[in-house]
Amino acid sequence: MTDQSLIRNFSIIAHIDHGKSTLADRLIQRCGGVEQREFRDQMLDSMDIERERGITIKAQTVRLEYKAADGRTYVLNLMDTPGHVDFAYEVSRSLAACEGSILVVDASQGVEAQTLANVHHAIEANHEIVPVLNKVDLPAADVERAKQQIEDVIGLDAADAIPISAKTGLNIDAVLEALVTRLPPPRGNPDAPLKALLVDSWYDAYLGVVILVRVVDGTLTKGTKIRMMATGAAYEVDRVGVFTPKPKDIGTLGTGEVGFITAGIKAVADCRVGDTITTERKPAAEALPGFKPSLPVVFCGLFPVDPAEFEHLRESLSKLRLNDASFVYEPESSAALGFGFRCGFLGLLHLEIIQERLEREFNLDLIATAPSVVYKIHLTNGEVVELHNPADMPDPVRIDHIEEPWIKATILVPDEHLGAVLKLCEDRRGIQKQLTYAGSRAMVVYELPLNEVVFDFYDRLKSVSRGYASFDYEIANYREDDLVKLSILVNAEPVDALSIMVHRARAESRGRVLCEKLKELIPKQLFKIAIQAAIGGKVVARETISALRKDVLAKCYGGDVSRKRKLLDKQKKGKKRMRQFGEVEIPQSAFIAALKARDD
């Protein structure tokens, strides 16, 4: 066990691309955590998708041994946390396991919105914060301006900010010294009953479920019977270790230490992030504060392109859930898309990641329906139901009113793009709460309906600001508004997968765009096709696809039989990807493209 006074637990806060992973790599190398031949970039991001996107999805830790200028050898535990708002709860748990943070700001870019949110989480967690200015080797680096921004936008004293280059290794020692001298050692009572914070957990094909813990009080030893205080589940610990970053068994984790355990646990769902681990024999009287199960806020339907892949999708989802308990799914059937699952996610990035992992790791071809937020439907009988899928909307006569979730969005944008960003927010029913300047950059705070953001707000924001705006949000509250379900009917039959919830004022234009898009996408057929958008029984937009007039092979003789028959067989296979609505066949590609259609 390590002397508690020689432990420093820290995390790194940075905007995407500001150099967090490179700095982590440098710290690991400097402390000899890996041998040079084993080293690869982004050491801590183990999933392909993390490495490619340059993001961290699961929390990772690494234990470093650093011989400081004072001659003593310190144990530094680096907790690499997901930086994205979707994983805000995971971030806050990781931060709760540390006493300090390194704040990385790209000296050529300045402070970004995501950094801001995470620094506030760190300040709330009483962290000592060490600002570093990265990429000072770049010609565009402006150290003074970046310092000013840290002071103006974040409100932190940046006088002692360390100018570094993670790429070249400049001033890495200064960062390590700052960690040792400026961060406090962990508090906590080694003689008290065990309290360990469950920081994260994941499924490993060899080890089963691996739990990342921070021991707050007491010690955690191999062979101990432990109990999860929130779920009540009990296990015997079979391994106790640390990551160097390779896993290394150490037998016991003392107070203030960070490491992993395994305990023959089958499902990640039994290991809730934020839960408190204690011993069976001498349990702690009360759990650590702050446990809350993470709730999905964005839902969408996932359907296999090939209906025969349904079972494969089910298995894949259950395997993926072993490793990520924060998403939920239940079977759903759609007249348009067949059998699939309604899935709930922590946010849009989470949705994208899960979808991408399903397609990549499980080789599935998926159709995702438009993301929907969770509406609260207040019925006339006083009941309140949560609506995850517009297709399940109750009969309007039974509805008293509908509430939708709102967010508080923080956007940082260079001056010259501010107008475009403000317009985008106004178009999306936003309410401006704050507008301040830091140098040539503006920080705007808007309240926005989440519904208006889930679709493509982020893409639009990037596009109207030429990529310069950064954005972060937190869920604010639920508010009542005039929301309606817009249905799409093809030859009078509703196409469930295309129905959406929309504000009444925008229903007509949205309906028009969808109808026009479908007219482009549905091929002419034997019969005329009417496409309508309707609110309840009222049609608000309509398009007609005229009937096919000529579609026949001019020549077909004895030599053509086999070839043309094969063509027909191919057509028949293609039809499996079509969905039949009465007389009308709609290609799946039409659904996908229609779901992407926007009216602005």
């Binding site: 002419k524 057929q525 034997l526 019969f527 096919l548 007039r549 000529k550 579609d551 026949v552 092979l553 001019a554 020549k555 077909c556 003789y557 004895g558 030599g559 039989v561 086999s562 043309k564 028959r565 027909l568 067989d569 057509q571 028949k572 039809k575 007389e583």
Partner: protein
């Protein structure tokens, strides 16, 4: 396995001649341009394949022979005689046997018509394609409109029966211009006319030109109008469509091509030729080697150059019989269909789809079977697609 067709049914022999003087930009048939061709060697190879297939189909009598290509009118007249005689010797020819030769209307062929007739050809099919010089150039044809008219007149004098082809829906062609050209064609025609809508096939020179957008086909609506106009004008002239693109006075239909559309048995000899024949009571799909030089050496060495001879499965037979039969105005005969495929016609098609197609005016049930209406034939790909769901 579907049972074999009854032996008293029509039985066709297709002979493929793969050579042309030049390749037309719209043509995707197996045709090749060669400096010189040893006509005798080719005739010997074709004869060997005839011997081979005759041995596989004992007891059948040939009801039609069709020389297609390529440009079979480039063959020596004596070679066609050799082939016809060999078919007669091996299978025997029906009394009213139809022997068709495809011919180009150049002066070269015009000079050979009498000899072809003497060799046993009794029906000529001329590749006229257009009666306008400019269009003939666009289509890459080697003849002029004047030569075309002269060849038609000579064919009418020389053969009992003749037909010619026209191509419409050409780039830039107006409806009025096509109507005038079609009416001239009717005035020149005998009892049979084939009119094809221009389509762009992969692997042709036009595929590139049209792919680049240098030339464009009339839009679907205009194509449909041209098609329906063609049907009406030819119907009024006493040449109704008996198949999508083929028109004849009743009784003057091409009997050989009817074999294909009625899904009866036919032997295919020559490079790339396909056949559908009963071998030992089992219907087979046959295919010959496609490359001319490889074909000829294999046929000489092994007696035939068959590269594939596979039993036709029930599903494939159903698809093929419907796909071909619905092209005909007479439709698909239920009894023949059942005999050919082993499946009752009404069991082969999706009843719900059939009901929708009947209600929509695309399909008609008849006492003896089913047929596509004129409206249904215009969109036959979609009709067959719906039926075979």
């Amino acid at each position: 396995m579907p049972p074999a067709a009854a032996s008293d049914e029509a039985f066709g022999l297709y002979v493929h001649w793969p050579f042309c003087l030049s390749k037309c930009p719209y043509c995707d048939f197996n045709s090749h341009v060669r400096e010189r061709i040893d006509s005798d060697a080719w005739a010997s190879a074709l004869v060997r394949e005839i011997d081979h297939f005759a041995a596989l189909t004992p007891g059948r009598r040939v009801t039609s022979i069709y020389f297609g290509g390529g440009t079979p009118s480039l063959m020596d007249c004596s070679a066609t005689a050799t082939i016809i005689d060999r078919a007669a010797a091996r299978w025997g020819l029906a009394d009213a046997v139809e022997v068709t030769l495809e011919a180009n209307p150049t002066s070269v062929e015009a000079g050979k018509m009498k000899d072809f007739s003497a060799a046993g050809i009794n029906r000529l099919s001329l590749g006229i394609q257009s009666l306008e010089d400019e269009s003939l150039r666009l289509l890459g044809r080697r003849h002029s409109a004047r030569e075309a008219r002269a060849a038609i007149a000579l064919a009418a004098r020389t053969f009992d029966r003749f037909s010619f082809d026209l191509i419409y829906a050409r780039p830039g062609q107006t409806i009025a211009a096509w109507e005038a050209e079609l009416r001239e064609g009717i005035a020149l025609a005998g009892e049979h006319l084939s009119v094809y809508q221009l389509t762009i096939e992969p692997g042709t020179a036009f595929h590139q030109v049209f792919g680049r957008g240098d030339l464009v086909l009339p839009p679907e609506n205009e194509g449909a109008e041209l098609y329906h106009l063609t049907q009406a004008v030819l119907g009024d002239a006493g040449l109704p469509a008996y198949e999508i693109s083929n028109h004849a006075r009743p009784g003057a239909e091409c009997r050989h091509n009817l074999v294909y559309w009625r899904y009866q048995d036919y032997v295919g000899v020559g490079p790339g030729a396909h056949g559908r024949i009963a071998i030992d009571g089992v219907r087979h799909a046959t295919r010959q080697e496609k490359v001319p030089e490889t074909w000829v050496s294999r046929a000489m060495r092994e007696g035939h150059a068959t590269v594939e001879s596979l039993p036709v499965g029930r599903d494939d037979a159903v698809t093929e019989a419907l796909m071909m039969g619905l092209r005909l105005a007479e439709g698909v005969d239920g009894a023949r269909f059942a005999r050919q495929t082993g499946v009752a016609l009404m069991d082969a098609i999706d009843p719900a789809a059939a009901a929708r197609l009947v209600a929509g005016g695309f399909l008609e049930r008849m006492p003896a079977g089913v047929r596509a209406t004129p409206a249904g034939r215009a969109v036959l790909n979609a009709v067959i697609g719906a039926l075979l769901d």
